[in-house]
């Protein structure tokens, strides 16, 4: 992975720069080409695609188009070229996704992808397999392609409204009611009390135990609610209010906040992370993400505002992909400030940012690090400002802190499909160890759980570090970026499995990255298999909760609808692969459990039998997802950073001559500073699809 590696790369054109060899082109710093043209990268091995003339022509066009493909200006479908119905894998599409920039790749990836190609032609993903694909195809055919996104958004809103018609957590169950009442109570509490009493007021009745942003948002909702109808949020007297109007009001706050934060974040995600895929694939991903059943059930059925937290986290990820690290960091702080559960992501996010600093090398990386530290701490400061000295005595900061991190509670509550609850069946943790010890143990295990992914990111950054950094480094994509979704999955899943005081709803956090991954994956890939399995099992793991809250019909309807939309069929996964066998086994067990539950009552000795069986089915799957994500992360590290000094130079030297000219001409025609942004997912898909 050094000078031989370079010689295997396509040459750099006129702006060859003297930098260390194992890096991505430094040139790219000026023209933001980014790492991940890796899908197209695989095309280097295809002589017919590298024929000079057409490339130049297309490059000119594509470049102009893609230049606007950032989130700022999402529409670039007006051109007949990009709007043409090309399936994502077709050679033409792959070809056009090549920008003419001197993009450099570590050679090892090419060797990985070589094997991938050797494995066979990309499978035919005809549009006939999934409902969402068929629908998008129909829309295009009928001249409604401009309507795909608006109607998808409207239809998903429609579904959300329908789910909202159902019952919610704690409906009609005095005296404590449920999460719905907690959220409503916070509105009542924040608008009627001074800020300093927010975290201390009657903590036995749903005291505020989320970070300040939730409180501020509650305050805003409360103000609107008070303006509409004061009795909905009257202090104390409104406890447990369940009038039609108040229900509609509460439900609409979720839908509106979701539409304001989460939905744009999803849209942005499909446009940025899958920017080089076809419009259809992006829209397909959007539909997949919009109708993810677990989130719909929890937010619009059970009643919570998870989509706000997830939306902010997703915005942060999107901004990282755009190179806007500081804005991304602020978004992540907002996410943390809305719900402390976002902490599950923090090892991955922190790992990414540090890795980027390392990657940028000493002066730039150091500067970025300082800026990040400053911005992050400033945003926290602003969030907690009302609880800090000029406005309040220093001691008052402890009120929110003790409320937000309730170490006083048990290891786990209820039945949740994580390591502690599942192992509790055979090993009674709470009898065996003290609570304090268990806190430490769980913290250690959690750290152990996410450590691999952090290390992996840092290693990649170190290996690909820039030696001769240039200006403007912070807008550059770094090789660690494609690792980010896997890192998020690993760290959030390890938190879910091993940390203290986990709720079953928290599975939404690991679900976000895995759904992001699956949203662009081909239907017969392992990523797809794992993603859908994780989603289905997650919904299944919430079944006891949903059943208790009368959301059984919604559970069935949404799960079926989503699976149908994706065209998911475990039998179509790679035949006899581990994931196929696992999926079939898990579905059989889950279905069996449901049938059993319908037919018989639990024996008196074990009233929780079905919930425990549910946990015992779900937990192994989550553990496997966690291990799988680590595996993917490590594999990707090999791809990005190399296994060491192994350099498969022979796979490519023959092509160098061919590449030279087109690259030169392309670059010169484009000029500096206009690179298109690449979609990090491209290669990731290829990689994991066939690697695992």
């Amino acid at each position: 992975m050094d000078s031989e590696g370079l010689s295997a790369l396509p040459p750099d054109g006129p702006r060859k720069s003297p930098h260390r060899v194992r890096t991505i082109s430094v040139n790219s710093m000026r023209s933001i080409p980014a790492i991940a043209a890796l899908r197209s990268h695989s095309e280097y091995e295809r002589p017919e695609i590298l024929a000079p003339t057409p490339r130049q022509a297309v490059v000119g066009n594509r470049h102009l188009l893609e230049n606007s493909a950032t989130w700022v200006n999402l529409r670039h479908s007006d051109s007949p070229e990009s709007s043409r119905a090309v399936s994502p894998t077709s050679p033409g599409r792959r070809f056009s996704s090549l920008s003419g920039h001197p993009v450099r790749f570590p050679t090892t990836l090419s060797s990985l992808q070589e094997t991938e190609h050797a494995a066979g032609a990309p499978p035919d993903r005809g549009p006939e397999q999934a409902m969402a694909r068929r629908w998008i195809r129909w829309m295009h055919k009928r001249g409604m392609k401009g309507w795909v996104v608006p109607s998808a958004l409207l239809a998903s809103t429609c579904v959300k409204v329908c789910v909202s018609l159902g019952s919610y957590s704690g409906e009609g169950i005095p005296p404590m009611f449920g999460d719905y009442e907690a959220q409503r109570h916070w509105m009542e509490l924040t608008i009627h009390l001074p800020i300093r009493r927010w975290y201390t007021y009657d903590t036995h009745y749903w005291g505020l135990d989320y970070p300040p942003l939730t409180a501020y948002v509650s305050w805003l909702c409360g103000v609107v609610g008070h303006w509409l109808e004061p009795s909905w949020v009257a202090l104390d007297t409104s406890r447990g209010i369940e009038t039609e109007g108040s229900k509609i009001f509460m439900r609409s706050t979720v839908i509106i906040l979701d539409a304001l934060i989460y939905v744009p974040a999803l849209l942005m995600f499909t446009r940025i992370w899958q920017g080089s895929r076809s419009k259809r694939t992006q829209n397909l991903a959007l539909v997949t993400l919009l109708l993810q059943p677990a989130l719909l059930l929890v937010d619009f059925g059970h009643f919570q505002y998870n989509s706000v937290m997830l939306g902010f986290a997703l915005l942060a990820i999107n901004l990282f992909a755009l190179g806007q690290d500081l804005a991304g960091a602020v978004c992540f702080v907002l996410s943390l400030g809305f719900k402390q559960m976002a902490l599950y992501y923090s090892p991955a996010i922190g790992g990414y940012l540090i890795a980027k600093c390392i990657y940028l090398g000493f002066p730039n990386g150091g500067k970025l690090f300082l800026r990040l530290a400053l911005v992050t701490s400033m945003s926290f400061l602003v969030l907690f400002l009302p609880f800090l000295p000029p406005f309040a005595p220093i001691s008052s900061i402890f009120d929110p802190m003790t409320r937000i991190f309730p170490f006083g509670r048990g290891l786990f509550e209820d039945k949740v499909a994580n390591f502690w609850c599942a192992s509790n069946v055979v090993f009674k943790w709470r009898k065996w160890a003290s609570s304090a010890f268990l806190v430490k143990l769980s913290a250690a295990l959690t750290a152990l759980g996410f450590l691999p992914t952090v290390l992996v990111s840092l290693r990649v950054a170190w290996q690909t570090q820039l030696i001769a950094p240039r200006q403007g480094g912070s807008t550059l994509h770094i090789p660690v970026l494609p690792l980010l979704p896997y890192a998020l999955l690993t760290s959030s899943m390890s938190f879910f499995l091993f940390s203290f005081q986990v709720h079953e709803k928290t599975i939404l956090l690991p679900l976000l990255p895995i759904t992001l991954l699956l949203s662009g994956a081909p239907m017969d890939s392992t990523v797809f298999g794992w993603g859908v399995l994780a989603n289905n099992v997650a919904v299944f793991s919430m079944w006891p909760l949903l059943k208790r809250e009368g959301l059984g019909v919604q559970y069935i309807a949404l799960t079926i609808l989503w699976n149908r939309l994706l065209g998911y069929n475990p039998f179509r996964l790679p035949s006899k692969s581990f994931i196929q066998l696992l999926s079939l086994g898990v579905y059989a067990a889950g279905l069996g459990l449901h049938i059993l539950e319908l037919l018989i009552l639990p024996p008196g000795r074990y009233p929780d039998m079905f919930a425990v069986l549910n946990v015992l089915i779900s937990t192994p799957v989550f553990c496997l997802v966690w291990l799988w994500s680590i595996k993917c992360g490590v594999e990707m590290t090999w791809a990005l950073g190399g296994l060491g000094n192994v350099s498969p130079r022979h796979t490519r030297t023959s092509l160098v001559g061919d590449d030279e000219k087109p690259f030169e001409s392309a670059t010169s025609s484009i000029g500096p500073g206009q690179g298109r942004r690449r979609a990090p997912f491209d290669f990731e898909q290829d990689l994991t699809t066939d690697q695992t």
Binding site: P127, E128, M131, R134, W135, R137, W138, K141, R142, G143, M144, W147, S151, L154, A155, T157, C158, V159, V161, C162, V163, S164, L165, G166, S167, E244, G245, I248, R251, G550, V553, Q554, I556, A557, L558, I560, L561, R564
Partner: protein
């Protein structure tokens, strides 16, 4: 939706014999085999999944008293002997559908008694446990499969399957069915399935079956009598009389006997028990007013509105108009009861009857001379349309009788398509007041907009014709302006109660939104200004929709009477 049609087109023509009009006795085995063969494409399964999931999600939605009506009928048919069905008055919701529907309820009540015996308990009034809701909603979904199956058969034998697939899908996912059946609660999907089956049989040339099915349908719900004249003329002219004008005795007798047999099966037990007068008095209660509580947007709604306006004008200006004092009281603020006009002369049932028949006969005369399938379909639509516009005590739900057959004509040519769009938009909008709870209201608006979008864009590309004269261009523009008014109207209807509520703070909490059964508190509590305005949104909806629906009627009638005989649309080939 029909994504697969390009690949499937060659195969699609399969059902042989369905297209060819075989005059008598289409070999029974052939069509039975076709019916049983499940050649459903994945895109069609998609729609089934989608609609079923949506309907499942609507389980907890608002339901009107019709839910209790049908539950009560389950109880009546389950726990009483047949001789008491039409006599029982335990609940105020007595059985007032024809016998086939009662038998249908009897059938449904058998599983119901296993699901939850309390559902079929006669004295368990207003029972709405989750089991009852889930069971009854499920029966609606399952019975609607009849509609789905028939619509599939429509695609199979059609001249242009890809367009027919859009039309079929639009009918299966029709917002009208979703609003009326799956939220409000009725079994229209199932019965319109039978109606469409009958129409399908007419298309396939099996007129005997068509007649029998229509007779069956009449015995499920007698409101389909609105359509009966068209059936009568069509079957008489094209089945019982040969093109040369000779009476086909054999056909005539077989049809007559079959129809009589259907009625005997249906009413037989009641004839034997001598209960016919009682049954009929239940089926045709002539004690209701001209308008339903919320004025169905028909001609009488316009007349009533005109009366209200004149009354206002008279009381303001003191113009010398004769004011009927009883009309002052019955200002039809949306309350049930007889409508008495204050200024205009009162309308009697016989007037509505004559008006209906007069308008129907125009279409029927044309049908008599051109008894083709397309002509039949248009006349059928016009028949239902005329009954809807001029009938006595019409329910807004009856608009489905117009919209469903009209949908089949939608892709015929631009003139039909435009009529279809105007009537559909106005008709569906006129159903909106049935659903007044806020959550469901958001749903109905979004869903209907999506439906219109998915129907309008693909079909308009298929049938578009450039306006050929300045008059057409002006009409075209006016129609577009009219359609553009609906979003504004919706905004007004949504915001008006809120604004009134905010202005009148003391009565804010109990501003009454009209409900289908209109159990609004008496307006005596309210200051006068509020009550006068309270039903303004409903009135406006009614009047605005009525304008569009009446215009649609005139349009369709004009097109029907004036269409060049040389024009060959897709349906002319049948």
């Amino acid at each position: 939706m029909e994504a697969a049609d390009s690949t499937a087109k060659p195969v699609r023509r399969v059902p042989s014999g369905t297209l060819k009009p075989t005059t008598t006795g289409l070999p029974c085995t052939v069509w039975r085999k076709n019916w049983l063969r499940l050649e459903i494409e994945s895109s069609e399964y998609d729609l089934l999944f989608l609609s079923t999931c949506l309907k499942l999600l609507l389980f907890p939605a608002y339901r009107s008293t019709d839910f209790e009506v049908h539950r009560n009928w389950l109880a009546i048919t389950h726990s009483l002997p047949i001789s008491r069905w039409y006599y029982d008055t335990t609940s105020e919701w007595t059985l007032d559908y024809p016998p086939f529907f009662a038998y249908f309820e009897k059938l449904l009540s058998i599983p119901a008694s296993f699901v939850d015996p309390k559902i079929v308990d006669l004295n368990n009034l207003n029972y709405d446990a989750w089991s009852a809701i889930a069971y009854q909603r499920t029966t609606v979904i399952l019975s609607e499969l009849v509609l789905g199956a028939v619509l599939l058969r429509f695609i199979r034998g059609s001249v242009d399957p890809s367009t027919q697939r859009i039309i079929s899908a639009s009918l299966f996912l029709h917002p009208g069915f979703l609003i009326v059946d799956h939220i409000h609660f009725q079994y229209n999907g199932f019965m319109f399935g039978i109606l469409l089956w009958s129409i399908l049989m007419a298309r396939n040339g099996n007129k005997l079956a068509s007649g029998i099915l229509f007779a069956v349908l009449l015995n499920f719900k007698h409101i389909y009598m609105y359509l009966a004249p068209a059936y009568f003329i069509y079957l008489l002219r094209s089945f019982c009389i040969s093109p040369s004008g000779k009476l086909e005795i054999k056909n005539f007798l077989s049809l007559a006997n079959a129809v009589i047999a259907v009625f005997i099966v249906s009413f037989g037990p009641f004839i034997v028990m001598g209960q016919i007068p009682q049954v009929l008095s239940r089926l045709f209660p002539f004690t209701r007013g001209l308008n339903h509580a919320y004025w169905a947007p028909n001609a009488w709604a316009l007349v009533t509105a005109a009366d209200r306006v004149l009354l206002r004008y008279a009381s303001r200006s003191g113009a010398g108009l004769d004011i009927n004092i009883s009309g002052l009281a019955s200002t039809s603020r949306g309350l049930v009861g007889d409508t008495v006009f204050a200024v205009l002369p009162n309308i009697k049932p016989v007037h509505t009857f004559i008006a209906t028949l007069a308008f129907q006969s125009i279409a029927l005369v044309k049908l008599w001379f051109t008894p083709t399938y397309k002509s039949f379909l248009t006349a059928l639509t016009l028949c239902g349309y005329a009954s809807y516009l001029f009938g006595w005590h019409v329910h807004e739900k009856a608009i489905l009788l117009v919209l469903v057959p009209l949908s089949l004509l939608a892709a015929e040519r631009h003139a039909y398509f435009r009529t279809f769009i105007i009537a559909s938009v106005a008709g569906i909008f006129s159903l909106f007041p049935l659903i007044f709870t806020p959550g469901e209201s958001i749903f109905k608006v979004i869903y209907s907009s999506l439906w219109i979008l998915f129907v309008y864009v693909p079909l308009t590309r298929r049938v578009y014709e450039f306006p050929r004269s300045p008059a057409f261009a002006i009409i075209d523009t006016l129609e577009k302006i009219y359609l553009a008014g609906f979003p504004l109207l919706q905004v007004f209807v949504t915001l008006f109660p809120v604004l009134v509520a905010r202005r009148q703070v003391p009565v804010a909490a109990d501003i009454c939104v009209a409900s289908p059964n209109f159990t609004c508190p008496e307006p005596a509590l309210h200051p006068e200004g509020v009550t006068a305005m309270e039903f303004l949104p409903l009135m406006l909806t009614s009047v605005y929709c009525a304008v569009g629906l009446i215009w649609g009627f005139c349009r369709l009638m004009f097109v029907y009477l004036n269409e060049e005989s040389t024009y060959q649309g897709p349906l002319s080939r049948i």
